[in-house]
Every structure is written in C-alpha cells, then in structure tokens.
C-alpha cells in the first residue's frame, strides 16, 4: 500500500504543491492570506474548465490549439447576446453551442480534409483570434447583468469561489465518466491503440469528433465564466496562454501527449501546481513574464520526467522479458 502511494505520480505532485506553497509562504506570509487563496482559486477556475476539455481530448489521442481563441470568441458572442437582452443562461448555452460547432469544424478539418490537427488548429486559432479583435473593434465588451456576475464571482464564505467549484465538479463528473462508463473507456482505447479500438468496433472518428466538440465547448464555458466574473470580455483574454496553461496542466498531471493514459485527478493536481506557482511568482514580486518563462520550464520539466520514467520502465520490462525467457 505504502509502495503504491510512493510510486504514484499524484503523490509527488501533491508533495510538490505543498512544498512550493510552504516556500512561497516563507518568502511572503501574505501567500496564505484569504485574499490570495481566493485569487489562486479564481485563476485556477478558468484554466481549469478549459483543462478538463483539453485533458480528455489529449487522452483520446488528439489535440486542439485553438481552445483559448474559441473560448474568447464564444464569450464575445455570449456577451453580445446578454447585452441584447437574452437571459444569461440561454446566452451561456448559446456560447457553448458555438464552441461545439467549432469542435465540429476542427473534426471536419482533421478527418475530411486530412489536415494534421496540430497545424490545422493552429491556423484556426488565428482565425478566431483575429475575428474576436475585428468584431469587438479591439474594445472590451462590458456587461451589466447582475445575476450573470454572480454566476462568475459568487463565493462560499468569501474564500472559495463558485467558479472553482465548477472545476472541481467538472473534474469529478469527468473522472466518473472516463473511468466508470463504457463510453469513457472507449475514449482511452482510441488513444491507447487506435487499431485495437477499431477492431473492437469502436468508431474512432466519431469518438474523436465528440472529444473535439467537448474541448471547444468547455473552452466556451470557461470564457463565459471569465466574462461573468470580470464583467467584461476583451479580445486578448484567454487565447494562447490559456490553451497552453490547460495543456501544461494536463501534461504535468500525467496525461500522455500521444493519448491513452492519464486522468482528471492528476490533471487537477497539475492545474493547482501551475496556478500556485504562477501566483507565488507574482506575490514575491516577479512580474508576469517570469511566469511565462516558468510556464515553459514546467512544460519541459513535465516532459523530461516522463522521458526518464519511460526509460526506467523499459529497462525493467526488458529485464522481465529476459527473466521469463531464461525460465
């Protein structure tokens, strides 16, 4: 039992989170003030919602670099709807719907046009980015809807934002779906061994399309939550930083880049690690650019850890095979 814990990636992630929280607190005790914790949780919530979609898409063996841009554009559309008098719930659903359509577009590009998802979504993200700037004429879209504001910024006891709970709930729901339902297992199969999945009767293209729509739809939700909290949406919000934040969280958390492994739990811890790290850097006085730098370093570190892990596993597997061959 002890061994199982000490060899689990999540354990080390958790340790790391505690470690850097302690270090930052020592450097600046304000780190664990109620205000700061609230900030951390807010920051985590937007990236977190996007991460849920991204992590699951990665597990299915695909990727989407346009998530942030889609989220921003969808939120802009949603804001226009609210400003035009549409009830915010409907507007949010509309924004999510737009996200889903973007997912369909990505799937069309990948499977019907035959474009590699990596560069295709890179191209499309420019389209949504640019359109966001164009239709808002580079001005923020502000809202005055009070109840929508509550949706984004309500808190429990002034500490835990509801937005953060959305992430937790999403993680739990998706953990359940991915681990405990047939459909969820099929997603893992598609990512783990496409051919085996195909032979088992799984329609890999269909599963991939669903996951792409899921990713973009959740990105749209993230956009709406952010708009709700900030009272406005700006064409430069989200975009690449969010997309990469979501991807880095997932990769830190153990989601393999090629698909087939990893889970929400790890991704969640990865999210917290990334967010706490960013916040800590901010608190101790470094500017946001150091954050950007560390984002890159963390991403590389996550990959490096994976590489050495794989190396070790391959060595032990080889030894196992040689042993059974001798026996």
């Amino acid at each position: 039992m002890i061994k199982k814990i000490t060899t689990s990636r999540n354990f080390y992630l958790f340790l790391f989170i505690v470690l850097i929280a302690v270090i930052f607190t020592i450097i600046n005790p304000l780190f664990i003030s109620a205000d700061n914790i609230r900030n951390i949780l807010y920051a985590a919530s937007i990236t977190g919602v996007m991460m849920v979609g991204m992590a699951n898409l990665l597990i299915s063996g695909n990727m989407d670099l346009s998530a942030g841009a889609v989220g921003c554009f969808a939120a802009i559309l949603g804001s226009y709807m609210i400003n035009a008098g549409v009830p915010w719930v409907i507007a949010t659903i509309g924004a999510i719907g737009f996200g889903v359509l973007c997912g369909l577009l990505n799937a069309f590009m990948t499977y019907k046009l035959g474009i590699m998802p990596f560069i295709g979504t890179l191209g499309i993200s420019n389209v949504w980015s640019g359109l966001a700037a164009v239709i808002t004429r580079q001005a923020s879209v502000t809202l005055t809807n009070e109840s929508f504001f509550v949706f984004g910024s309500a808190k429990i006891g002034n500490l835990i934002p509801w937005a953060f709970l959305y992430v937790v709930i999403l993680c739990l729901v998706y953990t359940f779906i991915m681990k405990c339902t047939k459909a969820g297992r099929k997603v893992y199969m598609c990512g783990g061994n496409r051919n085996a999945a195909r032979l088992a009767g799984i329609k890999v293209e269909k599963v991939s399309t669903v996951m792409m729509c899921n990713c973009s739809g959740l990105a749209a939700l993230a956009g709406m939550i952010m708009t709700a909290r900030m009272h406005l949406i700006h064409y430069q919000n989200l975009q690449t930083t969010s997309t990469m934040g979501a991807m880095t969280s997932a990769l830190l958390g153990g989601v393999a880049f090629g698909g087939g492994s990893g889970a929400m739990g790890g991704a969640f811890l990865g999210l917290m690690l990334l967010t706490i790290f960013k916040n800590g850097i901010d608190i101790i006085g470094c500017n946001e650019y150091v954050q950007i730098m560390f984002n890159g370093i963390l991403l590389a570190a996550a990959m490096a850890v994976d590489y050495f892990n794989n190396l070790a596993q391959q060595k032990s597997l080889k030894a196992k095979n040689e042993e059974s061959a001798k026996a």
Binding site: G123, I124, S125, V127, F257, N295
Partner: protein
C-alpha cells in the same frame, strides 16, 4: 533521358500570376496607394524579415518537423544584440555576432530536447518559446531597448540602394535566398534533407545520418531567426521581446503556400520565396485598403488552412495515381512477358 519541364504550367508561374493579380487588385482598390514607393518599401521590409524565418521553416518542414520558437528566438536575439550594444557598451558588430551565436545555442537546445529527450517537437519548441519570451521580458522589460548611433546596425538597417527604393535588407534577403536555395536544390546537404524527410529509416540504412541533420536544421532555423531579429532592430531601432512573434506563423504559411510539403515530397526555396511574396503583398494590400491588422490575422489563418487542404487533397490524388499506375504497369509487364 531529358526532364520534362514546362514553366508555364508549373506552380511557380501560378504563384507569380497570383502576386501580379493581387498587386493589380489592391492598387485599383486603394486608388494607387499600393504602388507608392513608401508602400513598396513596406512590402519589401516585411518580406525581408519573413524571408529568413521562412527559409528555416522550409528546411525543417521538408525534414518533416516544425520549429514554433522561431519568432521568439528572433525577438530574443534582437533584444540581446541591442542590450549588449547599448547597455554593456560592446561594439555593435561583436554584439551582433554574440546574438547570432546565442541563437545557435538555443537551436542546439531545441534539437537536444527533441532528439535526446524524445520530446514531441511541438512541445519542445513551444516551451522554448515561452522561456525565451519570459527571459526576454526579464532582461529588457516591456519597453525593450532602443539603439542609437550604432554604425553596424545603421549600415544594415538604413542603407538604401537605387535611389532610396531598395533597402539593404532586401539585398541580404536575396543573398540568403539564393544561397540557401542553391544549397537545397544543388548540394548533397540539400538532397539529404529531402531524403531524410521522405523516409528517415531508409535514409539511415543507406548511410545517411538523420539525427545529425536534425541538429543542423534546428540550429539553422534558430540562426536564421536571429538574423531576422538583427535586421529588425537595425531598421526599427528598437528591440522588443515580442518583435517577431507574428512572423512565426506567417513563415509557416508562406512555406505551405509555396508548395512545401511536409516530409520532403516537394517544395523548394523558389516556391517558398514566391509564397512569401504572395503573403507579404496580400497582407500589405489588406491593410492599405483599410482593413485593420486583425483582419490580416484572420485571412492568414484561412490561407494556411486552404493551403494545407490543397496539399492534403493533392497527396490523396497522387496516392490514387500510384495505385492505378502500378496496376497499369503491372498489366503492361504481364503482357510483355507473355509476348
């Protein structure tokens, strides 16, 4: 056996036609603004910065990979060179050389992550671009570095030929394009890129060294990006950590439009150069007639996707041609054998 070549039906000709057509359309649309000397110089300046990054992108794409840290490397080198010259009093010529060297080291690190640590190229270069951006901001802040009275930079950036029409940058660009174009088309090294890109394993089994090539290509891409950075500073006289970010994407789009296919199937510097001209003329035209810069981003994204889709459809068509061709030659052989 003679090669069949027909310039007028080649894709280079179509690209040329497109460039001319764009010029005509935008000139009419902009009531002549398009062809004013100042505007032409703008187009040329853009192409200059695009050219170096585009060459690097072309080479790597032919090998089958992509370097999305070029923009960041270029900006970083720009900042480094300006910083060395202005803040540390290093003679600007040396500062430039140092910045270029730093670029090469960064390229080497990219190749190391990809080849030794088996990082997916996208992730390796993406994290590198983040690190460089952050580092750049740390070193020169968001204000960047402005340069004053630096002879080498001024030489590179301000010299103009042909009655103030053609900037020095254009000459350097053309030089690089010609040299790299020749390298790609006519040397063993260039051939190696196509071969390793087409089938890495087969190339290795024939005695080539794809890993060594990978290192060279990433270092080269970073070096070229740094050249872009230096040229930028030389002309604009300010170095910002995000100076060349937009050129990253445009470089790849230019290569795709120019017919460069992933994996060594086809593509060369000439096509790439034409693709760059198409893009530069297009982008300039779009802004000259009054669209703001964001429309350019949208159109570039669309152009990239259209270019990729055409590529993919082409590949499918030639795959079908292969099947029918091999069946045809097979039945031809059978009938010849019977005879």
């Amino acid at each position: 056996m003679k090669k069949k070549s027909n310039f007028f039906s080649s894709k280079y000709f179509s690209l040329l036609i497109i460039i001319v057509a764009l010029l005509i359309i935008f000139t009419i649309w902009s009531k002549g603004m398009m062809l004013k000397p100042l505007n032409i110089r703008n187009i040329l300046n853009n192409v200059v910065l695009l050219s170096f990054i585009g060459i690097g992108a072309c080479f790597l794409m032919l090998y089958g990979e992509m370097d999305i840290s070029s923009g960041a490397i270029g900006s970083f080198s720009a900042c480094m060179s300006a910083m060395f010259a202005m803040n540390y009093g290093i003679p600007d010529g040396i500062a430039i050389i140092l910045a270029l060297l730093i670029g090469c080291v960064i390229g080497f690190l990219n190749a190391l992550m990809i080849n030794k640590l088996k990082f997916p190229p996208f992730i390796a270069t993406m994290s590198m671009s983040y690190v460089l951006q952050g580092l750049g901001y740390l070193l020169v802040t968001a204000l960047g570095v402005s340069i004053k009275k630096l002879p080498t930079f001024n030489f590179l950036g301000d010299t103009k030929f042909f009655d103030n029409l053609v900037p020095m940058g254009v000459l350097i660009s053309i030089l690089f394009l010609v040299v790299y174009g020749l390298i790609l088309a006519k040397t063993k090294f260039g051939r190696t890129i196509y071969l390793c890109g087409g089938n890495r394993l087969a190339a290795k089994l024939c005695g080539l060294n794809p890993t060594k090539l990978s290192y060279i290509l990433y270092i080269n891409s970073a070096f070229l990006a740094s050249v872009s950075g230096i040229m930028y500073v030389a002309r604009v006289k300010t170095a910002l950590p995000t100076a060349l970010t937009s050129y990253q994407f445009t470089g790849i789009t230019a290569a795709v439009l120019g017919g460069v296919a992933f994996g060594g199937g086809s593509g060369n510097i000439l096509g790439c150069a034409l693709g760059m001209l198409v893009l530069a003329v297009f982008n300039n035209g779009v802004s000259t007639v009054g669209f703001n810069a964001n429309y350019t981003t949208v159109f570039n994204g669309v152009l990239l996707i259209v270019g990729l889709a055409l590529d993919a459809i082409n590949a499918r068509r030639s795959a079908r041609k292969v099947v029918t061709s091999s069946l045809a030659s097979l039945s031809k052989e059978k009938s010849e054998n019977k005879a």
